[in-house]
C-alpha cells in the first residue's frame, strides 16, 4: 500500500467512524468515536514509552507507528528476545530499558503504553501515574476488581489520563451495528449469545531464556484469569454496550476440560449474565473447538446482529402459502379451482440459514484510531470521553464472572464500584 492509498483508506475509515457515530443516541452511546476520529491538531507527536514488547506490545508499536500524532520514543522489557523483535519496528537509536522505573525516571517520553502480563498492569500503571505520565494500558485492566478500582482512583488523584485498550469501541462495523440497533432495526434486545471458541492450546513455545511463567502467564491464575480476562473482557464490553447497562448478577461454571497440561486457568467457561428486565448474556469460551469462533449474537425481537461477521438478519416471517395465495387470486377473479394442500413445509424453529445483509464497513485499524484518540487526549489533557467507564465495567464483569465460577454461586454486581 502506498502512502497515498494508506491516507485515502484512513480518511475513508475515519469518515465511516464519524458517520456511524452520528445520529440519535450515538453521542451518548459512543462519545469517544467522534472525538478520536476528529481532525488531529498540528504539533509535535506525543512521545510514547512502551512497557512490554511481547506479541501484543509489538502489535501496539506497529499501530502507534501508523498514527498521525504519536511516536514510539522508548521501549522497556526485561526479556531480551522480545526487545530484539520490538526494536525492528522503531528507529535504531530509540532508548531501551529493562526496568520500567528507569524509563519513567529518564523523562524522555510524554506518555506510557503498558502491554505487560495482566498481573503487572496495576503496578506499572500506578508507577507511571505516580511519575506524572498519562497511561494507556491494554485490557483487561488488572488481575483483581480492587486493582481495577485502584487504578482509576489513582488516575483521578494524580489528575492524569488513564485509557484502556478496547479496540471494538472504535470499529466502524460495531459502531454502525450499534447505530442500527439503536434505530430499532432488530427490535428490543433481550439476549446476547457471545462466544470465543478456539482450537489451540493457547500455549506459547518457550524461546531461549524464557520461563514458563513469564511466557505462558495467561495459563496461571496468579497472573491471569485466563479466558475471562484475555478474551471475555472484549465481548463483555460489547454486551454492556449493546445492552445499554450493566449486569445485575452473574453465574457460571468452568473447568480444565481438555488441556490438562499443568495450567491452572480454565480451558472452558460458560456463564450467564443477567441484565435488567430479564435480559441475558450467555457467554462461552473454550480452547478445543473453533467451529463457532468469536462472535456476539445480538438478538432482538425483529432481528439479529452478528458484528464479527458483519451481518444483520431479519426475523424470518412465514411466507404466504402459494396454493392459498392462488386461491385468493382465483376467488377475486371469479374462478373456482381446486386447492392443492398437503403437509407442512415451513418450520420456524429450525436454525435459520439465510445469509442476512451486510452491516458494511469492515474493520480497518481501530487499534490505530484508539491511539490517535489517546494522543489527542494527552495533548489536550482531556480524556477520550466514555472509554474508561466501558473498560472498567468490562474488566469488573470478567473478574466477577471468574469469581462466580470459583465460588459456584450467582454473584450480584458489586455496589461499591466507582461512578463515572
Amino acid at each position: 500500500m502506498t502512502d497515498d492509498e494508506f491516507a485515502l483508506s484512513r480518511r475513508t475509515f475515519l469518515d465511516r467512524v464519524l458517520l456511524a457515530s452520528a445520529g440519535v443516541g450515538m453521542s451518548a452511546a459512543a462519545p469517544w468515536a467522534a472525538f478520536a476520529a476528529d481532525d488531529i491538531a498540528k504539533g509535535p507527536r506525543v512521545r510514547i514509552g512502551v512497557i512490554g514488547t511481547g506479541d501484543r506490545g509489538r502489535t501496539l508499536i506497529q499501530n502507534l507507528n501508523k498514527t498521525r500524532n504519536c511516536t514510539v520514543a522508548a521501549l522497556c522489557d526485561p526479556f531480551e528476545p522480545h526487545m530484539t523483535k520490538a526494536r525492528a519496528y522503531v528507529p535504531a537509536n530509540t532508548p531501551i530499558f529493562t526496568d520500567h522505573r528507569a524509563m519513567l525516571d529518564a523523562r524522555q517520553v510524554d506518555a506510557v503504553v503498558i502491554a505487560t502480563p495482566l498481573d503487572l498492569h496495576a503496578r506499572h500503571t500506578m508507577d507511571a501515574l505516580d511519575a506524572g505520565y498519562p497511561v494507556f494500558c491494554e485490557k483487561a485492566m488488572a488481575r483483581t476488581i480492587a486493582d481495577c478500582t485502584a487504578m482509576v482512583t489513582r488516575a483521578r488523584q494524580r489528575g492524569k489520563l488513564l485509557q484502556i485498550g478496547h479496540q471494538r469501541l472504535f470499529n466502524p462495523t460495531y459502531l454502525n451495528a450499534l447505530k442500527r440497533a439503536q434505530a430499532g432495526e432488530i427490535g428490543a434486545i433481550t439476549q446476547i449469545r457471545a462466544s470465543w471458541h478456539r482450537n489451540r492450546s493457547w500455549r506459547r513455545a518457550l524461546p531461549p531464556g524464557g520461563t514458563e511463567r513469564e511466557i505462558n502467564w495467561r495459563l496461571y491464575r496468579d497472573r491471569s484469569a485466563g479466558l475471562m480476562t484475555e478474551l471475555a473482557t472484549h465481548q463483555l464490553q460489547v454486551t454492556n454496550w449493546f445492552m445499554g447497562g450493566l449486569p445485575t448478577r452473574v453465574m457460571g461454571s468452568g473447568s480444565i476440560c481438555f488441556w490438562k497440561d499443568g495450567r491452572d486457568v480454565y480451558d472452558q467457561v460458560a456463564l450467564i449474565y443477567d441484565y435488567s428486565d430479564g435480559r441475558k448474556v450467555i457467554y462461552t469460551s473454550m480452547l478445543n473447538n473453533a467451529r463457532y469462533g468469536c462472535e456476539e449474537q445480538i438478538q432482538g425481537s425483529k432481528g439479529t446482529i452478528e458484528p464479527e461477521l458483519g451481518r444483520i438478519y431479519k426475523e424470518v416471517q412465514p411466507a404466504a402459502v402459494p396454493a392459498l395465495a392462488k386461491m385468493r387470486t382465483d376467488v377475486q377473479a371469479g374462478r373456482k379451482n381446486t386447492v392443492p394442500i398437503g403437509g407442512a413445509t415451513w418450520f420456524p424453529e429450525l436454525p435459520i440459514t439465510t445469509p442476512g445483509d451486510s452491516l458494511g464497513w469492515g474493520e480497518y485499524d481501530e487499534t490505530m484510531l484508539q491511539f490517535e484518540g489517546f494522543g489527542e487526549a494527552v495533548r489536550s489533557g482531556k480524556e477520550v470521553p466514555g472509554l474508561l467507564a466501558q473498560a472498567y465495567h468490562a474488566s469488573v464483569a470478567s473478574l466477577l464472572g471468574e469469581q462466580a465460577i470459583d465460588e459456584g454461586k450467582a454473584l450480584a454486581w458489586p455496589t461499591d464500584l466507582l461512578t463515572f
Binding site: 392459498l324 377475486q332 371469479g334 394442500i341 398437503g342 407442512a344
Partner: protein, 277 residues
C-alpha cells in the same frame, strides 16, 4: 359471480405457519380475535416452553394428580378423552398410557395411575383451528378457510363462489399426482404422513404407535375429514398408527372421509385407487 371481499392473516404459531382467509368480512378485529384464539391454545398446550401443559406433565410424570386450572387445557383433555375412546385407543397423546389417566369433571382435576406425560402434537393445531372457527362464527363470518401448516385445514361455510371448497391432496413424493380430491363445507381436514417435505426435517417428532411404542416408519399418508379439527387430527393420526385390521375398521365407519395411502400403491389417479394397506 364476483369475488366477495376478503381479508387474510398470516403468522407463525404452534411451530408452523398459520393462514386465515376470510371472505365477506374485512374487519381486522375479527381476524385478531381468531388469531388470539389460536395463540391462546398454543399457550395452553405447548410443551416447548413453560405452559399449563408442562405444569401438568410435571405432576403426572410422577404418577400424581393436579387441578387443571386452565380451561383450554381441561377442554382439550376432555376432547382427547372422547377421541381416545372413539379411536379404540389409537389416538393417544400420552404415548399409550391414556387409560391410566383419570379426569374428574367436577373437580377439574387429572390424575395418573402410572407416570405419563402429554404431547398434543398435531391435535393442538386442529383444536386451535376449532377455537378460531368458533370465534369467527361468533363474529358472523360465513365463509373462511383456515390453515395451520397446510396439514390442518378448516373451512367455514361454502366456497365464496358457491358449493364446497375443492381440495386436492398431492402425493408427497410424486409431483403432479394427487392422492385424493375432496369438497368440504363446514368441515376440517387433517393430513398425516411419514414421508414428504416436512417429515424428514430435523426435530420433527416421529409418529409413535400407542400399542407398542414403536415408530411408524412405513411410507404412508393418512387423510381424515371431520366436523372438527380436533376429530380430524385424531383420526388421521389413528389411521397412520393402526394395524391393517384396525385401519379397516376406522375407514369403514366413514369411507368417503377417511383415507390411508401406503405409498407402494399406484399414484397419479384423480381418485385414490387404494385406500388401505
Amino acid at each position: 359471480m364476483t369475488a366477495k371481499e376478503a381479508s387474510v392473516a398470516r403468522f407463525a404459531a404452534m411451530g408452523t405457519r398459520v393462514e386465515l382467509h376470510l371472505f365477506g368480512c374485512d374487519d381486522p378485529e375479527v381476524l385478531d380475535a381468531a388469531r388470539a384464539a389460536i395463540l391462546a391454545v398454543e399457550d395452553a398446550l405447548t410443551i416447548h416452553r413453560p405452559s399449563p401443559t408442562t405444569a401438568l406433565n410435571a405432576a403426572l410424570s410422577g404418577g400424581g394428580s393436579a387441578i387443571v386450572d386452565d380451561p383450554l387445557l381441561f377442554d382439550a383433555l376432555l376432547a382427547v378423552d372422547a377421541l381416545w375412546q372413539a379411536t379404540g385407543g389409537l389416538f393417544d397423546p400420552s404415548f399409550g398410557r391414556w387409560s391410566a389417566l383419570g379426569l374428574d369433571r367436577t373437580t377439574r382435576s387429572a390424575s395418573a395411575a402410572l407416570p405419563l406425560s402429554l404431547d398434543f402434537g398435531g391435535f393442538g393445531k386442529g383444536f386451535a383451528l376449532d377455537r378460531a372457527v368458533a370465534a369467527l362464527r361468533a363474529a358472523g363470518v360465513t365463509s373462511a378457510l383456515l390453515s395451520a401448516g397446510e396439514s390442518s385445514i378448516a373451512v367455514i361455510g361454502q366456497h365464496p363462489l358457491g358449493g364446497g371448497w375443492p381440495f386436492a391432496v398431492p402425493h408427497p413424493e410424486d409431483a403432479g399426482a394427487w392422492l385424493v380430491e375432496l369438497e368440504l363445507a363446514d368441515a376440517s381436514l387433517s393430513i398425516s404422513s411419514t414421508i414428504g417435505a416436512g417429515a424428514a426435517k430435523p426435530g420433527r417428532a416421529a409418529m409413535v404407535r400407542p400399542t407398542d411404542g414403536t415408530i411408524v416408519s412405513a411410507p404412508a399418508t393418512a387423510i381424515a375429514v371431520a366436523a372438527t379439527g380436533a376429530e380430524a387430527e385424531a383420526l388421521s393420526t389413528a389411521l397412520l398408527v393402526a394395524d391393517a385390521s384396525a385401519a379397516d375398521r376406522l375407514r369403514a365407519a366413514d369411507p368417503d372421509r377417511r383415507f390411508l395411502f401406503p405409498h407402494a400403491a399406484p399414484v397419479g389417479a384423480e381418485r385414490a385407487l387404494e385406500h388401505t394397506a
